[in-house]
Symmetry: C2
Subunit: 337 residues, 2 copies
DNA sequence: TTTCCAATTGGAAACGTTTTATATAGCGTG
DNA sequence: CACGCTATATAAAACGTTTCCAATTGGAAA
C-alpha cells in the first residue's frame, strides 16, 4: 500500500541478493551483472521502493539539497532569481530549501545555521549588505557559499553580479546625452552596498565626466517600493529646480516616479525622461514603457547555481567572481534621439 | 575550527555525561537536573556543537521540512503565496523545499516523489488542475498534503481557497450595476478548474440573474500574462459590438486590457470600465488604479501552512476545506456610483 | 538505618542507507 | 587440472541521532 517503509532490505530479500547490490543498482554503479540488475529492478518496481534520502544523506554525507537565502521571495526581483536557481538546481538533481531573511542580520545568521544543520551541500546567498558577523559565519561554513546579486566587499567569496557602477554610469550618461544638465537619482538606502557604493558612484562619475555639478538634493532615498518612488518624485516636483531627467534605482520605483510625474500633469517623455533599473516584467507594464538597465536576475540565479555545482563537483573554475554583462533596454520613457 | 563534525559523542565526553543526556538537553527534555543541563550546555557552547538534522531525521522520522509545489515562483502571485507559507513555517520551526512544476503533470508527479523521497513531513500543493494520476499519488502519500488556491474537485483533500464562483459573480454584477448590458470576460484557459468551472460560471450566473444574454465571443481566453490580456483586448476592440465593461481573470491581464484600451485612444473608466482579479501589488501600479477582486494569496499560503501544522500535530481541525473571504477593492478603473 | 519511589542518567538498539574490505564464482591459461 | 584473474556479490561497519528500557542516585518516610 503505502509505498513507504519498504526498505532496501525488503528489496534485497525480494530479489534474492544482498542490500549492497540493491544499493549499487539504485545508484547506477556499473559493477552489476545485467541479469542481476534486472532482477533487482523488478523487485523495486514490484515493491514500489523509494530510496530514503535522509538515510542516504547520513551515510553519504551528501543531501543533494542547497540552501537559498533571499531577502523576500514575494519581491518579483528575488522571485526571478530564485527561479533561475531552481531551474539549474533541478538540472543537476538538487533541491532547494528557501528562506527569507528580510535583509535582517539576525535572521540571516539564524537561517544560515539552520541550513547548515540540515546539512545542505551548499548555499546561495543574496542580501543587501554583508555584515561582518555573517561573513565570519560564512568562513566557518563547512560547505561552499555563493553570492548572487550581492557584492563581495573584498571578502574572497564566489559571487555573480553585474557591474552596477558602470550600469549606473551608462544610465546617467544616456540621460545627460539627451541634453539634461541636471539628473535626479531616486534609489534605495545607501547603506546597501550596491546603492551606496556602486550605483551612486556611477551616477556621480557620469555627472563629473560631463562636467556637471553634483547636487545633494537631486538624490532622494526610498526603500525600493513603488510607493517610495512615487513619494520621492512628488517631493522632487515641489522644487523650482526639479531635474527633468530621473534615474531610478529599481523599476518599481521608476513606475512610482512616472506616475508621480503624470499625476502632476506632466508628460513622460516629453516633459520628463526616466530610466529604471532591473528590467523586471514591470518595465513593459506601464505607459510609456520604461527604458531600463537590464539586470538579468534569472541569469544571475542560474549562473550562481551553476557556479555552485562546479565547486561541489570540484570542477575547474575559471573565475570565482562572475560579472555578467548589462545593457540598457530603450523604451518609450526616453525621447527618440 | 569547523564547528562541524563535532558530534553528540564529543559533547557527551566533554561534559562527562552520556549521549542520551546530551540529546535530552538539546531537545529540551525536562528530565535533566539543572546542574547537569548547565554542564552540557557549556560543553555545547565550548565545542560549537550543531545537531545534525539528517541524523536526527533518520532517528526520529521527522525532518521538520515541508515540500511546497507551485507552478512558477517567478509569478508574483505564487511568490506571495510562498511567502505566506514560509512565514508560518518559520513560526513553527519548519523549513520549506520549494519546487516549480510549470503546471506540468509529469513535473508535478516527479517533484512529489522527490519530496517524499526526502522525507518531508508534509506538502503544500498548488496547481491549476488536479490530474487523476497526481491524485492517485497523493492518496499513496505517507504524509499529509494540503492544497492552496487549488480546487479540490471532489477529492477529499484539505484545501484553502476563496469562493471563486461568487467572486466572479460579484465582479460581474458590479459591472452590470454600472449600467452595462454587455460584459467582456478575459481570462486564462478554461481547462484550469478555477477559470473553467468557477470564474466562468460565476460570470454567467451574474449575467443570467440580470437577465442579460451570454455571448460566446464576449469571452476571450489567454494565458494569464500581461501580453495575452493586451492582445485579447485588442481583438475585442476590433468588434463593432465590443463590450464597454471588462472583467479580467488576473490583475496582470487587467493591466494589459487597460493599456490596450488606452493605446486605442479610449479612456478608463470614462469609456471602458475594468475589474481585475487577485489584488496583487500591480493593481496600484497603474493609472487608473485597478478595481479588483481581493484574493489574499499571502493569507492563503499562511492558512494552508497553519492547517498543515495542525494536521501534523494531530490537533483538532474544525474544517478541512477552508474558504477565505473575498471582497472587491474599489479603485479608479470603475466610475464612481 | 533501611526501604521505596521518583528523579535522573546510562546503554544499546534502531533508523535506512553507503562504503570498504572480503569472499566467491567463473574462466582463460599454462 | 590447478592457478590466478577479473567481475560480482556479500557482510559488516559506519553515519549521528532518538528512544526505549534498565540502572543508579537521592531523599523522604518508616
Amino acid at each position: 500500500m503505502n509505498s513507504n517503509n519498504v526498505t532496501i532490505y525488503d528489496v534485497a530479500r525480494e530479489a534474492g541478493v544482498s542490500m549492497a547490490t540493491v544499493s549499487r543498482v539504485v545508484n547506477g554503479n556499473p559493477n552489476v551483472k545485467p541479469t542481476t540488475r534486472k532482477k533487482v529492478q523488478d523487485a523495486i518496481d514490484r515493491l514500489g521502493y523509494r530510496p530514503n534520502a535522509v538515510a542516504r544523506g547520513l551515510a553519504s554525507k551528501k543531501t543533494t539539497t542547497v540552501g537559498v537565502i533571499v531577502p523576500d521571495i514575494s519581491n518579483i526581483f528575488f522571485a526571478d532569481l530564485a527561479r533561475g536557481i531552481e531551474d539549474v538546481a533541478t538540472m543537476y538533481k538538487y533541491n532547494i530549501i528557501l528562506g527569507n531573511s528580510d535583509s535582517n542580520r539576525d535572521k540571516e545568521i539564524h537561517l544560515l545555521n539552520t541550513l547548515l544543520g540540515k546539512q545542505v551541500d551548499g548555499i546561495i546567498f543574496m542580501g543587501g549588505r554583508l555584515h561582518e558577523d555573517l561573513v565570519n559565519e560564512f568562513k566557518k561554513s563547512p560547505v561552499p557559499i555563493v553570492l548572487a546579486a550581492t557584492l563581495n566587499q573584498g571578502y574572497d567569496l564566489p559571487a555573480v553580479n553585474i557591474d552596477y557602477e558602470q550600469a549606473a554610469y551608462d544610465a546617467t550618461e544616456m540621460l545627460i546625452g539627451h541634453g539634461h544638465k541636471q539628473v535626479g537619482f531616486i534609489t534605495g538606502p545607501l547603506e546597501q552596498q550596491i546603492n551606496g557604493e556602486k550605483k551612486f558612484s556611477g551616477y556621480r562619475r557620469a555627472l563629473e565626466d560631463a562636467g556637471l555639478p553634483f547636487r545633494e538634493n537631486d538624490v532622494i532615498l526610498g526603500n525600493y517600493t513603488y510607493a517610495s518612488g512615487l513619494e520621492a518624485m512628488q517631493k522632487m516636483l515641489e522644487r523650482d529646480d526639479c531635474p527633468k531627467a530621473i534615474f531610478a534605482g529599481t523599476d518599481e520605483m521608476a513606475l512610482g516616479v512616472i506616475h508621480a510625474i503624470q499625476d502632476a500633469g506632466y508628460s513622460v517623455p516629453n516633459d520628463f525622461e526616466v530610466v529604471g533599473h532591473d528590467n523586471t516584467r514591470l518595465a513593459t507594464m506601464i505607459r510609456p514603457k520604461l527604458t531600463t538597465v537590464v539586470q538579468p536576475m534569472y541569469d544571475i540565479g542560474a549562473v550562481a547555481m551553476r557556479l555552485l555545482t562546479k565547486i561541489l563537483n570540484a570542477e575547474e573554475i575559471e573565475e570565482k567572481n562572475v560579472v555578467l554583462p548589462h545593457r540598457i533596454e530603450r523604451r518609450d520613457s526616453l525621447r527618440n534621439d
